[in-house]
């Protein structure tokens, strides 16, 4: 009977079993016996030789690149050169699953840019695009239905990720480890640090969607508003920060100093470690340190003194407040600048300053570096020839700033999607739509390193360059980056919410700072200690 029906008994039963396991993110791993057990922390965190880093020498930057980890800085869009010849593809279909954080572009049949992209790639590129916030649902179902395609973005840390990758993804170690990556020069142009996030169970199982240091959270200040009030926006310690914040606050005019309590700025000022502290292989969460309670007390005082926008917790809208002038300072990334310039309502006076963040001793503080990667992308298992072809395509996707391939990738077809205006590429209305505001979702497959360049705003380049130059040598990375904790992957998000809610309660005066000890105790029992233990074992395996 079931032989003739499209939905037979066996399909139903296997579906039911998969669904039971699928909620835990391991649906399609049923029956797989070759993956590493999640309890074998050392095996999951086994090290591998990382790909060589060969920095591409592109157009001469407008400001000197004094540190190899700093991106090149440009005032203007540089002259571009063609860096790849021929087509990377073989004419076949390449299907990808990606999130998007911009409006969805028109489908292939109505998108000149997409058609031109396929022509340059020599591929029939199909993309399953999902709004960023909904991506986990899509990913989970597509995984269970074996519909992820050839390349698939992994956003965040799905549970049992190493096992998932071992079961479904191609181990790229032989293609990318060490000097093997030199065959793909623009993948080799991605920093070594980014590749550490792609290693699981002793193999390179993904390529990074790297963002690097430019994604660091810093303190952005409305320099024009500070100058208007005659207030110096620099500060040497918490007292000075609070003092200038008081001068920039005028509740009667709906003006506050901060859009929200700048937690990461205060953490750097108090010398807190980036999320975890590692000493001799032993890990301590920054939440457990006394300095964290000092930070909570400062945040509580800032809120009670009315220095922080009153809706910062209940209805956060920091970007609008900053642009509008309701908030003179906001904690945001270097990459947020273009958005602020675009929504500027203050006219030509609008200037963003980025003061350096001092440490406890008044000198440059240890600013927290972000995860070097926005996300990672895995490649489905395939024959060696196809894997090499896909890596060629990914190499094309990573063509760097300063190349003609980059200009096409971000801006589309000249005269149709963009035009040069005073030497700067400016998207047309059609281009905005077809390229997804210059962020066509292939940038979530792999992307080139991001330069310091703000079209039409050389002052932005100056501000970011100066700040980064001072900040970078002292910035600190989270010591757990590149380590895998199974407990963190299953409980980390919930535990973070507990801590975040408790922090808000303290800032809003609902609970005293002394309540933090019981919160930390709850965090430890709820999984914090298990995560610590797993990180310690993982650290031992990798060092």
């Amino acid at each position: 009977m079931s032989a003739n029906t499209p939905f037979g008994r066996r399909t139903f039963l296997s579906g039911a079993l998969l669904s039971a396991a699928g909620l835990a993110g391991v649906g399609s791993l049923a029956g797989c016996t070759t993956v590493t057990r999640s309890t074998d922390i050392k095996a999951i965190n086994k090290a591998v030789a990382l790909p060589d880093y060969v920095r591409w020498k592109g157009p001469k930057p407008d400001l000197p690149t004094v540190n190899p980890l700093m991106p090149d800085a440009y005032y203007r869009y540089p002259a571009t050169t063609k860096v790849l010849s021929g087509h990377p593809g073989d004419g076949s279909r390449l299907q990808g699953t990606v999130p998007t954080n911009t409006p969805v572009p028109p489908s292939l049949d109505r998108n000149q840019y997409w058609k031109a992209l396929n022509g340059r790639l020599g591929l029939d590129l199909g993309l399953s695009i999902t709004p960023g916030g909904d991506y986990p649902n899509k990913f989970q179902t597509a995984l269970a239905g074996d519909q992820l395609g050839d390349v698939w973005n992994i956003f965040g840390a799905p549970p049992y990720l190493p096992q998932l990758l071992q079961a479904k993804a191609q181990d790229l170690t032989e293609y990318l480890s060490g000097d093997a990556i030199r065959r793909y020069p623009f993948l080799a142009n991605l920093p070594t640090e980014a590749w550490r996030g792609c290693v699981f169970a002793g193999g390179i199982y993904a390529v990074p969607v790297a963002r690097g240091i430019i994604g660091t959270n810093v303190l952005l200040s409305r320099q024009d508003l500070f100058e208007e009030r005659g207030v110096d926006m620099t500060f040497k310690n918490v007292d000075e920060l609070q003092s200038l914040a008081g001068q920039m606050t005028d509740e009667r005019s709906n003006k506050w100093a901060f859009a929200a309590v700048p937690n990461l700025v205060l953490s750097a000022m108090l010398g807190l470690p980036n999320t975890w502290q590692e000493k001799g292989g032993r890990f301590t969460s920054e939440n457990e340190l006394d300095a964290h309670k000092d930070m909570l007390e400062i945040g509580r005082r800032m809120t009670s003194k009315g220095l922080v926008h009153p809706d910062s917790v209940s209805a956060p809208n920091a970007k609008v407040w900053f642009n509008q002038g309701s908030a003179a300072m906001t904690q945001d990334t270097y990459t947020a600048l273009p958005g602020f310039y675009q929504q500027n309502v203050a006219g030509k006076a609008f200037t963003i300053g980025i003061p350096t963040i001092p440490g406890p001793d008044g000198k440059q503080g240890n600013v927290w570096l972000p995860n070097p990667n926005n996300s990672i992308t895995a490649v489905s298992k395939a024959s060696p020839d196809r894997i090499r072809m896909i890596l060629d395509a990914l190499n094309w996707f990573a063509a760097p700033f300063g190349s003609k391939e980059y200009t096409f990738r971000k801006y589309g077809v000249e005269g149709h999607d963009f035009d040069f205006s005073n030497g700067e590429p400016v998207l047309t209305t059609t281009g905005n739509s077809e390229t997804g505001l210059g962020a066509f979702p292939i940038e979530y497959i792999v992307d080139s390193p991001i330069p310091i360049y703000y079209s039409g705003h050389p002052d932005g380049t100056d501000s970011v360059y100066r700040n980064m130059l001072a900040m970078q040598p002292h910035a600190i990375q989270n010591p757990t980056y590149g380590l895998y904790s199974p407990t963190n992957s299953t409980k980390g998000s919930l535990l973070s919410t507990v801590l975040s809610n408790a922090t808000n309660d303290i800032y809003l005066g609902r609970k005293p700072v002394s309540s933090w000890d019981s919160v930390v105790s709850q965090w430890r029992k709820g999984g914090g200690d298990a995560i610590r233990s797993e990180y310690e074992r993982a650290f031992e395996a990798k060092n």
């Binding site: 911009t102 909904d134 929504q343 700067e424 590429p425 998207l427």
Partner: protein, 317 residues
Amino acid sequence: MTTTHGNIEAPRKAPVPSAPARKKRRRRLDAPSMPIRLVKGLVLLIICAVVIVPFIGIASTSIADPKEVTRAGGFVLWPHGINFSSYESLFAGGVVTQALLVSIGITALGTLVSLTGSTLLAYSLSRPGSFAHQPILIMVLLTLLFAPGLIPNYLAVKEYGLLDSFASLILPTAINAFNVIVLRAFFMGIPRELVDSARIDGAGDFGIFWRLVLPLSKAVLAVIGLFYAVGYWNSFFSALLYINDTGKWPLQLVLRTYVINNSQLGGAQLGATADQLPPQASIQMAILVISIVPILIVYPFLQRHFAKGVLTGAVKG
């Protein structure tokens, strides 16, 4: 007549109210005094304002000058000028226009399929003695108690070969058990005598259904139709899971990409440039207007049936 029979007491005369009591009652039945009416009017006015002002704000913000929106913190109650840049931005590239057509098609076709299926199922379940009456009814009720999970649903759609087809947006949600129960309850309330008389007049089962039951059920059909139509119009999740071709996305899913990550929309990405875009608040308000206007247009035509139908379904069971 006030005679008594046996131990049955004669009905007592109702006590005649005294003059002040009569006056009091009359006063209570009179129209309320002017101050009371004013207070009532004021209260109603406030309630209306609470409902209407946000709508005015939404429409105003969507057509306000972008700079005015940002200056006002994202919400303009009364714009100083009219600016359609939010709508121009949304409709640029034709994605929203196409999605609008898809949504209209899905809503119309889906409502037709759902209403047809639900009505036929409910009618058959309302006739005692129909084929496999009890097992089918239990199966329908079970879907109310045990909803299938995300992945089983996805696998079912995939195995039926419906991925990336419009059918995947209609068939999995075509029959809603709650609506079937409401329809069944209504059909059971139609007097059996009417059905029997139609049968005596020579009507067959389908004739009874088509020429007698359906004309008597316009109210409930309008309500259930509206339920289904609103459901299809607002639905985005099925498309999110089952449709990879963005050209087949319905309006709600396309609009979702504008609001799901509002921190990024206003800004060109990571060193890229873009034309000046309206603020996120303007876009969001324009999205609200675009997504609610079609339903607002349909609603008044069904409102008459809506109140009647909901009451009918609610008290009979």
